[in-house]
Symmetry: C2
Subunit: 642 residues, 2 copies
Amino acid sequence: MGAAPMAYVLYNEFMRHNPKNPAYFNRDRFVLSAGHGSMLQYSLMHLTGYESVSLDDCKQFRQWKSKTPGHPENFETKGIEVTTGPLGQGISNAVGLAAAEAHLAARFNKPGEEPIVDHYTYCILGDGCNMEGISNEAASMAGHWGLGKLIALYDDNKISIDGHTDISFTEDVSARFEALGWHVQHVKDGNTDLNSIRKAIEQAKAVTDKPSFIKVSTLIGYGSPNKADSHDVHGAPLGKDETLATRENLKWPYGDFEVPKEAYEIFGNAQKQGAAAQAEWDKACSAYSKKYPEEYKEFKQLLSGELPAGWADALPSFTPEDKGLATRLHSQTMLNALAGVLPGFLGGSADLAPSNMTLMKAYGDFQKGQYQERNLRFGVREHAMGAICNGIALHTSGLIPYCATFFIFTDYMRAAIRMSALSEAGVIYVMTHDSIGLGEDGPTHQPIEHLASFRAMPNILMMRPGDGNETAGCYKVAVENTKGINAEKRVRPSVLALSRQGMPNLPGTSKEGAAKGGYIVHGGDAKPDVIILATGSELSMGVDAAKALEKEGKKARVVSMVCWELFDEQSDSYKESVLPSDVEARVSVEAGSTFGWIKYTGTKGANIGVDHFGASAPAPTLYKEFGITTDAVVEAAKKLMA
Amino acid sequence: MGAAPMAYVLYNEFMRHNPKNPAYFNRDRFVLSAGHGSMLQYSLMHLTGYESVSLDDCKQFRQWKSKTPGHPENFETKGIEVTTGPLGQGISNAVGLAAAEAHLAARFNKPGEEPIVDHYTYCILGDGCNMEGISNEAASMAGHWGLGKLIALYDDNKISIDGHTDISFTEDVSARFEALGWHVQHVKDGNTDLNSIRKAIEQAKAVTDKPSFIKVSTLIGYGSPNKADSHDVHGAPLGKDETLATRENLKWPYGDFEVPKEAYEIFGNAQKQGAAAQAEWDKACSAYSKKYPEEYKEFKQLLSGELPAGWADALPSFTPEDKGLATRLHSQTMLNALAGVLPGFLGGSADLAPSNMTLMKAYGDFQKGQYQERNLRFGVREHAMGAICNGIALHTSGLIPYCATFFIFTDYMRAAIRMSALSEAGVIYVMTHDSIGLGEDGPTHQPIEHLASFRAMPNILMMRPGDGNETAGCYKVAVENTKGINAEKRVRPSVLALSRQGMPNLPGTSKEGAAKGGYIVHGGDAKPDVIILATGSELSMGVDAAKALEKEGKKARVVSMVCWELFDEQSDSYKESVLPSDVEARVSVEAGSTFGWIKYTGTKGANIGVDHFGASAPAPTLYKEFGITTDAVVEAAKKLMA
């Protein structure tokens, strides 16, 4: 209720959006970063005429299958841009939306012509968002990039769940945003002074080289005579008596869910303006398409999200004669190959580009004054990086952002990665240094439980390729899944775990195999005596072990389990052909936690891995000391066959 | 090398520490938040006379079993306070160390007497630390708390791995710290102007009501004629030629690992000062102990880390007649019980105290001017909260910090939780709203994969109690494990997953059972036809299902798997007695990902859980729609027995 005036001004007066066509591309983007206030957004959407939110939907607030869940969800309700609720994600998504706009505007708009990409990104955020570290990272990034069309309104109500912000939040937020390079204003009475809100937004729009931060001082629960300015109204309903008292206080003589005709009339403004804006944009596009047919074709493709025909041919294949490399180097090859064929491919690293191998050589850095470039320099801001990429992915379906850091630092950005999975943002996470194989940096940098932790996460593909072909195959699947190609047609993000250390290109690997998630790399001809399951840098170890066993007269099969989620989706007959159920002698080997592997090896199998923290030493030493060796695999296999 | 001058001034002149006794309690704490510069700290420790770091240790840098791992590790090297490397953790730990000092000083020092708790916390941090969101959260917290004895030196070398910070980090860091409530200074030439460094530290010490931030401008790789001021020296050695050139440039005529006698003499200062400081402190303690014997007894107990005799008796037991409650409410009972018997128990929530139920009623809020209090108000800063608690736990072994948020938001603080596990910081994580059972807030707030993700993490206990007795048992185990009671004597942190919704107190539960990690709650008399494994809010569902099966003449056993790690540590015979291997009909039920459960149910068992994202609706609706019901358990059990 405290944020209602600023939201009203935005939705009905400033925002260019078309309630009758929420997908209208050139709309201003709005993000309610304080997602627990979702009903405010649903109300405004209903009043301005979004068909996705009827009055009945409002009555079904937070109920099963309703279009009005507890927090705004882009995949549930048309007209919601991104999913918010976990604090700080929304403002960081907004930075991504604004970056996407800046990028497309710089690429496609032509001097002297009507722009075809030209919109603002508005965001309302609260105290909670501003306390979260992710929002500082994102705001620092936005300030660095100088995203002038990003306008954030800070609902400064001084109340959070624990009570008054005095008890934990006394910093000078406005001064901090100034230090981060933002243009900062203050509206002192956000409850009644709509004109000051209007003026501040106008001024924010006039500042084109910096993002704008407008602190709007409000009373939480404004209008409620007994509960305003208290944490009793933070995320909890007023109750019947107080609702009546509030209506009386605000001189609002209407009943529950009773919307007077005048209200709809006033809000009708948004529809009129929206329809006109869309008509103008259609006209601009039409003119553009005639003058710049090539560019327009690419633009349309980005908007449609369709992948260009034959794009996947750019991904190379490898033979055992090709030099063995670390999969992070193969990844570099793939990123650069995709850069040439996917017009919406862009991304970067959290200050580890030379280690993650993520630079696209054909492009420069996305920076103030050169937003058309495609290498993003995120600095050491993993969490914001993920959330910014979510914003980019959800801005335009043809934009395919990737982002990179060491695999261990997914811990810094896990909440954003989960939001990719939940909100169907097609982000590709390029995670190098994927195990104890990184060596000397030691246990603070060595992932152990991370593969398991992502395998357990819904709607995300956790991939760990074992050579060049598999890296190519993983990228193919990752790109395809940004378009929703699975049975449920849900967009899925992917996490690629890539090695620091080199490994050979194996005879039996293939892109097609990798795309199945699990497949036979060695020993597919006959029924095996033992099955060795491996991923990534341990795949060649599995093959070596199989060869050693064959010398002793045993038939050993090696299965690459590059992506469990994909393998589980294969037909039962395929799965049975790869892992025949009557072969119980099974050994898994992976330089990470063994947690979960029993699913494939059975309780009678053996699991070789690392179930403790790593150590600082050269990688070969660690492998030996921790017992991740060819000998150990051979040993375990023989024991099972005995 | 750029940070060497400031570190030299700190270690040899300012810091009160006793190299011959690194455990000297009243020492100043030092944290190298830019942990990749570990060799700088090792060198200084060696030169000032720490026996834990010999010249040979320095030669074994980053090698197997060496005392000089890639990043500073408190559990590996005596004299290292906390483990750093993941950026931003160190400065946040430092806030915790300073908070612990403030707390103990306020509790134990007496007006007019020589203080027995009185030290500074120094921290060196770099650009990377300052880009991370966690450091902004922690700095905001430190500013709010006004921790005057925290002094941070910012090694402003303008270089990170990607190159010059110009490409991603152009905010005004000093202005930001000012906005966060810090006292800010700038040393313009940190390479040669040691006097300015000294003066700035003196001034920082003189400001007692604010933490101090000293920006020290340096050249990375200072002294290296060809590589200084480039990212080539960031985490990579100079190489042989450049090392020689650097020595020549710095007029340093010594060979590899050759330390001239004069150097040791100069650094001998630290030992002299340290021994004198310790002698003084011993004297002060002795005087204190005579005047305040009761207080001194408590103080010594905190320092020793011993738990007071009989402390666990404070944890209540429950019978089925006791009202069923949400485990978050039982948790509140336990926290308040422990508050009365554990002198070092303190903690709080990330702005969710009224939801997490974490307030200790006997105490007020830890705030500026009342540091003796024990309720910590972290604001919405989960990541810093975890790292601050790590600092508190590692400051004094008798301090037992707990911290709380919704279980889902462990995603925001996972890197800090992992550091608890790795660095053996005995923190208790109180995580409520542990499943879809939280209902209407929807999928952004409903944990799915989180239990699995912590079960896969090394050296941490993931617990999910199913009623009052189990909650009590879990707290007992959690507290004990902050003291290293397991076979390896490693301190282990714990994560408690607690429900929002109520559940009955069951007849068969016990603290002792919970402490075993898995035990029979129902049907222990005879060999069962089927075993139902459950945790938390699904435990009573398991019992209901067992009773239904018994009505149909089947013998059903219910096993509470409250903590997998503890169960796995039991003897084989105990495990066999709970889960007889010849009973293959096994059903697990848990309102979370089924990932990993096959370990206990076998591949032929059934796993009932939630392997997709949740939804916004009342909890009973979600349980029904997602098939987590008594009927579903009965059904699955019957199918397995058929």
